[in-house]
């Protein structure tokens, strides 16, 4: 009975259970379906984002800053990633026994290493392999790789690269498995080819540095231009700095004096007043100027020569740098003609070079000129120039009147230019300026064996608070060579020579001779005069022992 009743009850009980189970399964299936629908349709956006966040990455594509090279492709500024070692400080702390080995591998002191163990960013560093030699000219960049000074600043847009970005999928080892999209392509910086000839730049650097040291001068600049193209072949200043190690630098040393600093040019301006005289038609190379009695009075002011030279031609006025002769010439010319000549030669204007911070110099308007002012200006006071401007004016004379724009970039093809002065005027002037460098001239130390040189010395008192100083000088030499067909123009400026000598012909002219002599040889310019007997020669621009003192 017992068993039977149990057997009867069973089917009802099982049916109930079966229904319950089926119901539960159906509910579960519905729940799963609902969940699936929910995930696929309702939460899809959120989930996709979360998924991407786990393996999709936006990577920066680094763009290098362009390289700066000299005209022959020698690197002057190169951006390259710094070798860097990455350390996870937490892991290193657990493996302290490995620190000495790491320090040995990195050739670092143990304390030094401990100090440096911080999160280290890998970034490009800009190297200047020529260091001090091109320091002022190139300038430098800041930590963000943006140009701050010099040509790095002037051509920043050209040199700077633009970082790109791309979205990628990484696997769990950090390897990139798929490029999802390119957000922004990287644009690397473009390379810049300068007009600089590194060999001449180095020569100018070496000779200027030696002169500044020997003359115990405060500062100095030298500029070498290619007369036939207007290109800057060399531009150096002292004191220099090494752009690779900027901790040592005090502010003020950054300035590229050759382009930014103005000075009163002294007698080195005289050739351009003579040019105005020749252009007026009132004077030529046979004109005689009576400079007796050796002084000249304008108003209350007396201008003097060293000696009474008597009646001399203009070449001798320049060779002796006669102040009286210059006063006579300047006062017979209409002020607007003088101003016009100086203006055409680029004085009082910023050149088209685009160099940052370049100064325009100072050339007063002729309507304000009084006789005493005109005479003062013809002696190189009361107007101011930069070394670059002065060199450019000499280059224009050397190009026989064609003013070519100053260029810091290599000029391809024929250089443009416009006529600033008559060709005949310039030929006569170049001929006259040869007498400055002759044996009796003030600039005889600028002579170069084998080449004819035309140039002019200048020695100017420096303007100080309360008038002109009588013991602080600017010594200048500007000129072109070879005189028969000028190829190079250069200006050397020495600021406050303090070793006894102070005349432009004593201090600046020898630097001109060495730099231009070497440069003409490097450029394979044919000599235009036979070499004189050796005993008459000035010091040869040969290699000498002073190199030992240089870096």
């Amino acid at each position: 009975m017992k068993s039977r009743s149990a057997r009867d009850a069973a089917p009802a009980s099982f049916r109930w259970r079966s229904l319950l189970l089926q119901g539960l399964l159906a509910i579960s299936a519905l729940a799963l379906a609902w969940r699936a629908v929910n995930l696929q349709l309702v939460d899809h956006g959120f989930l996709a984002r979360e998924g991407d966040a786990r393996f999709s990455r936006v990577l920066e594509i680094a763009a290098h800053r362009g390289t700066i090279t000299d005209r022959y492709g020698e690197p002057l500024a190169v951006s390259t990633p710094v070798d860097s070692v990455w350390v996870n400080p937490r892991e290193l702390a657990l493996a302290t026994e490995q620190i000495p080995r790491l320090a040995a591998a990195l050739k670092l002191d143990r304390q030094e290493l401990a100090r440096r163990v911080t999160s280290n960013l890998e970034r490009d560093r800009r190297y200047y392999p020529t260091g001090e030699v091109t320091g002022h000219l190139l300038g430098f960049t800041n930590v963000d790789d943006a140009g701050q000074e010099g040509l790095e600043l002037a051509f920043d847009h050209w040199l700077a690269g633009e970082d790109g970005a791309k979205r990628v999928i990484q696997d769990r080892y950090g390897r990139i498995v798929q490029n999802v999209e390119s957000i922004k392509p990287a644009r690397p910086g473009r390379d810049l080819v300068l007009s600089i000839d590194l060999r001449i730049q180095y020569l100018a650097y070496r000779e200027l540095k030696a002169a500044i040291r020997d003359q115990r001068a405060r500062a100095g600049s030298a500029v070498v231009l290619d007369v036939t193209s207007g290109e800057v072949l060399a531009m150096v200043n002292q004191p220099a700095y090494n752009p690779n190690d900027r901790d040592q630098i005090q502010s003020g040393v950054y300035r590229n004096r050759a382009a930014t600093d103005i000075f009163e040019p002294g007698s080195s301006i005289k050739p351009f007043f003579v040019a105005a005289g020749l252009a007026s038609g009132k004077y030529d190379n046979r004109s005689l100027i009576d400079t007796s009695p050796g002084f000249f009075k304008v108003g209350a002011k007396i201008f003097e020569d060293e000696h009474n030279y008597g009646a001399i031609d203009i070449a001798t006025v320049l060779a002796k740098s006669s102040n009286v002769g210059m006063a006579h010439i300047a006062l017979t010319l209409p002020p607007e003609e003088i101003w016009g000549t100086l203006n055409h030669l680029g004085f009082g204007q910023v050149s088209t070079s685009g160099y940052p911070g370049e100064s325009a110099g100072l050339l007063p308007v002729y309507s304000q000129w009084r006789p005493i002012g005109i005479v003062t200006m013809s002696h190189g006071y009361g107007l101011s120039v930069t070394p670059l401007q002065l060199a450019h004016a000499y280059a224009t004379i050397g190009a026989f009147g064609i003013a070519r724009p100053v260029s810091f970039l290599r000029v391809e093809g024929a250089a443009p230019g416009e006529r600033a002065l008559g060709a005949q005027v310039c030929r006569e002037l170049v001929g006259m300026l040869e007498s400055v460098v002759a044996a009796e001239g003030t600039g005889k130390l600028a002579a170069i064996p084998g080449y004819r040189v035309s140039g002019k010395t200048g020695t100017a008192w420096k303007a100080t608070a309360g008038g002109y100083s009588t013991d602080r000088y600017m010594a200048v030499f500007g000129g072109v060579a070879p005189a028969s067909e000028p190829r190079l123009a250069a200006v050397v400026v020495i600021d406050e020579p303090g070793a006894g000598l102070h005349m432009g012909g004593q201090v600046a002219a020898p630097v001109f001779s060495r730099v231009i002599g070497g440069a003409l040889r490097l450029l394979a310019v044919a000599p235009d005069q036979p070499v004189k007997a050796p005993e008459e020669l000035p010091a040869s621009p040969a290699l000498d022992t002073r190199t030992a003192a240089l870096p």
Partner: protein
Amino acid sequence: MNARAALIIAVPLLWLAALGSAASAIYCKHRARQMFVELEALNARRDNLEIEWGQLQLEQSAWSTHAFVERVASAKLRMAMPPPKQIEIVAP
């Protein structure tokens, strides 16, 4: 009857084709990833070579620094500029 026989043949065939297509899709995807990893490796190699080129340029310019060359020429190799009287210019 004909339609049914066709169905019996077509369904497994289509089924196989679908499987084959799926397998080749997987293979292509895999190949694409492999090749992309390879491409990235080559790009990285190119970048490294460029970096090395830059560093070699720097090294070369360090060795060819004019001051260094001059020092070696005059001190080690005993070279000097001949005095002007020893130079003979041959006109063309």
